[in-house]
Symmetry: C4
Subunit: 360 residues, 4 copies
Amino acid sequence: MMPLNLHEYEAAARERLTPTAYDYFAGGAGDEVTLRANRASFDRLALRPRVLVDVSRRSMKCDVLGADAAMPILVAPMAFQRLAHADGELAVARAAGAAHTVMVLSSLATTPMEEVVVAARPSRVWFQLYVFKDRGATRALVRRAELAGCTALVVTVDAPFLGRRERDVRNRFSLPDGVHISNLAGFGKDELPREAEGSGLAAYFEKQLDVAFTWKDLAWLRETTRLPVVVKGVLRADDARDAVAAGCQGIVVSNHGGRQLDGAVAAIDALPEVVAAVGGKVQVYLDGGIRRGTDVLKALALGANATLLGRPVLWGLAADGEDGAKRAIDLLAAELDLAMALCGCRSLAEIRRDLVVRAP
Amino acid sequence: MMPLNLHEYEAAARERLTPTAYDYFAGGAGDEVTLRANRASFDRLALRPRVLVDVSRRSMKCDVLGADAAMPILVAPMAFQRLAHADGELAVARAAGAAHTVMVLSSLATTPMEEVVVAARPSRVWFQLYVFKDRGATRALVRRAELAGCTALVVTVDAPFLGRRERDVRNRFSLPDGVHISNLAGFGKDELPREAEGSGLAAYFEKQLDVAFTWKDLAWLRETTRLPVVVKGVLRADDARDAVAAGCQGIVVSNHGGRQLDGAVAAIDALPEVVAAVGGKVQVYLDGGIRRGTDVLKALALGANATLLGRPVLWGLAADGEDGAKRAIDLLAAELDLAMALCGCRSLAEIRRDLVVRAP
Amino acid sequence: MMPLNLHEYEAAARERLTPTAYDYFAGGAGDEVTLRANRASFDRLALRPRVLVDVSRRSMKCDVLGADAAMPILVAPMAFQRLAHADGELAVARAAGAAHTVMVLSSLATTPMEEVVVAARPSRVWFQLYVFKDRGATRALVRRAELAGCTALVVTVDAPFLGRRERDVRNRFSLPDGVHISNLAGFGKDELPREAEGSGLAAYFEKQLDVAFTWKDLAWLRETTRLPVVVKGVLRADDARDAVAAGCQGIVVSNHGGRQLDGAVAAIDALPEVVAAVGGKVQVYLDGGIRRGTDVLKALALGANATLLGRPVLWGLAADGEDGAKRAIDLLAAELDLAMALCGCRSLAEIRRDLVVRAP
Amino acid sequence: MMPLNLHEYEAAARERLTPTAYDYFAGGAGDEVTLRANRASFDRLALRPRVLVDVSRRSMKCDVLGADAAMPILVAPMAFQRLAHADGELAVARAAGAAHTVMVLSSLATTPMEEVVVAARPSRVWFQLYVFKDRGATRALVRRAELAGCTALVVTVDAPFLGRRERDVRNRFSLPDGVHISNLAGFGKDELPREAEGSGLAAYFEKQLDVAFTWKDLAWLRETTRLPVVVKGVLRADDARDAVAAGCQGIVVSNHGGRQLDGAVAAIDALPEVVAAVGGKVQVYLDGGIRRGTDVLKALALGANATLLGRPVLWGLAADGEDGAKRAIDLLAAELDLAMALCGCRSLAEIRRDLVVRAP
């Protein structure tokens, strides 16, 4: 039966995926308190719809970093998409392209970025960057992203180490034969260790990632590239102000989908302080727990410029390849469109703070 | 076994109804968060009863739009009542008539309105209006309601599009043979599409309803008719003030029983701001989640002039036709009468704001 | 296995009682929201124990209406105790006597009050009074209570009508052969109707009780008797002030164990405003939801002079007659004694407001 | 399968322990409300991690009473460790020694303290003291602890009587043959009564412990010894100030793991007022509900100098002897290290109050 919403896509995907792959995508860190909080906090917000507005013409058009997207729903960076489906990142890129929205491509993609950029056309691809200990490799990766036509760098800042994802530790998570971290092959960083006692990805992070990276180094990165830089993983006003001061053009409020620090504040709960702190100087996006069009609406009402959709895209991908990924995005977009109409909002500009109230 | 309360009527009805009809009546939009919130928010309010009042004489008599009703419990507009029982709207009208309370008849009734008005005597019938793209049809419908003897128009303002009711999408909800939208037959609008991929009702709304209807158009509607106009579906103070400014005589605080915008604020939680905003200039009613006499009492204490009872009337109808519908209304009225007695309230005027407190 | 706490006594009792009797004692009105709230509200209060106090000598001695009780735990008035055990009120009276605490005897007792007063020695018996339409009968009942040696009147003010206790309606609750409302035999009021469609007790109340009784009539009652008058069923500051003005010597903050108005505020939540309102002019007791010694402690910390223990005494009675009733009281008293010791309170006077805080 | 976290160690331990031993270690007093609250209150606190800090060098080094510990996680005093494993306190001491952290040895240990002190090297052992009615025995015990090389006294102040632990009452908890309260053998206090009707430990407490012990007596104790004195079991600001005034060097905020006064405030909820009250004059530790590294982090953010880990050490001990105990400590330390890294905290000094916020 065709899934009617993103929850049903997860159920459909679970039937197709190996338990290890499902756990990798679905799981969170520790007791998964933050994973659940990301969802529960959306449900604690209630909407106050306006009525009797002429909603015959509506637009979800969205400015992201100065360019148009068809909707305030970008595809979040997610690693190892070929674990979900043989077509992996190419299928997701085509889905994002068809939806006219941005795909954020993970450093840990299993497909060469040049192919992804082509597949995503006419949509743009942003490149998510993990900063490696090997600065040369980092620099080369950025350079390659520029040449490939990526239009922004999304630097993940909440993962100097990998979160303790116990499902992956138990499953001794690694990559099956034939699936590689494609864009790091040139640096001998394209395999996850299989001999690790626990999660191969955790071992990879510990060996490869630069845990000494600071705001000062971010300035170096900004000089290295002509691309706009977005930092992903900010949950506090002071860090948000530091990001602005460091010259970033965007901030993703995110707890990494509950996969890094268990107990971290829910993304939607952290959003207002970040929005207030940046005062409109840079764009603010939200990532974590988006499952319904009304979740997007709530995030926008609280000041986000756009949201990032993560796991559900992979559930669509796993369930039905490119079509599934596309349909997952379309379902959410249709829900948002309907929710806007029912709230009397004809454009993102009409989504105001007073649309949302804390449920008692 | 004879149902003792409205919950038991739902259980009895469920046994009689087809799954598709039960789902249509029982369901809400999306994750049904608002459907549940409508109930849960009543339970978060506690009553502070007064004692040692002479309650030997009590009255629930209620002024609605300048006329008397025997109780502050009106029958909410609900579509397709012949799906619940062959006697449909006629049975409900007779039940409302016997209870001396107002029946609000849906635009999507499956019985000609003239017959319903006769059946409801001596009670009055208010006509719930959906505004169609076809203004001629809309005007004719209003005119017909006037001629039939309806005494007010209740204009639904929260449904430019139908909410995403996933049960109906899954069931491909439509009307069975022999059940028609009786009062729209003259305009070729008496059938729900059956070929629709999802909900036939959603397709019908998308094709027929006027999504461009605004407060300005409401002024046009008011000039079109000599009947008082009530707007149904207001959840905010600003919209309530707009309704007063537009010359409406009443407002139904409602989220359409959780069937339109999932995530919308619970009706009882939105009531106080609407009551405060209108400052007594027009009547305010509440709709959504009423299952116990104490729910009615809480709504009145928070400032409602009356409440509308929806699904439970249909559960009574499905379970036992006119008798069931009547008994459902009577059960609730008896509960309200007892609750008033136990709170020391002999009339609606003695139900005051301080009767209710938020439970800790 | 010997019950270790009052919860276990309920389980033991349930095995012994007929379902109808168990339902009568255990049930509440409506959806039993208030029944549950009485318990849940205790759990929302946390204790802040003091340490390093010499607690080698402790006393729970309590002044109630100017006389001593061994503990701030009185036996609440409960009807029809012979439904729980053949020894009924006599067993409970002996248990209260042995515990050196007050028994409040119900108007609806199934044993002559003179026998109960003797059985309770050396403890005192207070007589709970329902005010009957038949003022002569009411006056005679009061006179008989005085002659029998009862030392106070506890006038129930929250029951002009019986609450809608749906378990009893379903069970068509009435009294079995051989069980009578003993003290009303002289007035032909000693039987519950059996022909009633629903609860025989509800029918009895409707026929017999005076729904017109007011504070003014309470003044009449006070003149009728030389006994101190306590009103039971007050949940608001204004009613509490009225009780003081009417010359009452005590107030029982109570929602009748959740058996009258479902949705009424939890007893412990209503206590502080009543305590504040009476300002020490009369005694304040609490009734509803007491199951643990710490519940008594919390009530005292919030200003109650004593508490009334209801259903658990009957669970003890049903499980093991007089011994069970005694042991239920003793268990609670031992829990209170231990809780006081662990909180550094050597006497009731040392139980202060700051011992309790709302749990987050 | 090797446990991955402390929850899994509990499951593993439960399979190895007799039900009576498991109940003794796992259970709490009364309805175990406080036992659950200790955990639930941690989950109500959310973390606000800082990003882009160079976390390549981190230290959990901790000053406790002027000496170094490798981590802010001490081993809480727990009785009867030989019930968990034949190696009992020796295994735990070796585990604490290997982890370079303090072990707090219970007065009710089942191993001579001299052996424990040796086994714990190079770590220090603090001696937990119950004050006995027999002051001579108490003094001798303190003297022996000094001679054995214990470096602090931890005086338990929340247990003049044992809490009502109903599991133990039901199980008639006592010690099996061959397990003794080793350090009290010289005073004939090394056995729990087996003839007790309920808990043998409760009977032991009632017979042996000094319920008259006050702050004044604590001054006597301080003069008796040259060791620093820590009081364990304080939950209020006033008691904390009394502890400072009495010359204590440390305070353990604790409700005895929910084993004494059920309904007592959760330890983590009581922490802030104690920290504020002592104003840095003495050290403050927290005990109760620690199961995750983030729990330790939250306690430190709220002002604790260190935490005490209780039951999980015994779960490790029961599951796998010294290795299990060691691994339980190591798992928690690794979680704390990771949590600090993900929060941008390189040392305990960088863990600040604003790291924690109440979750909505």
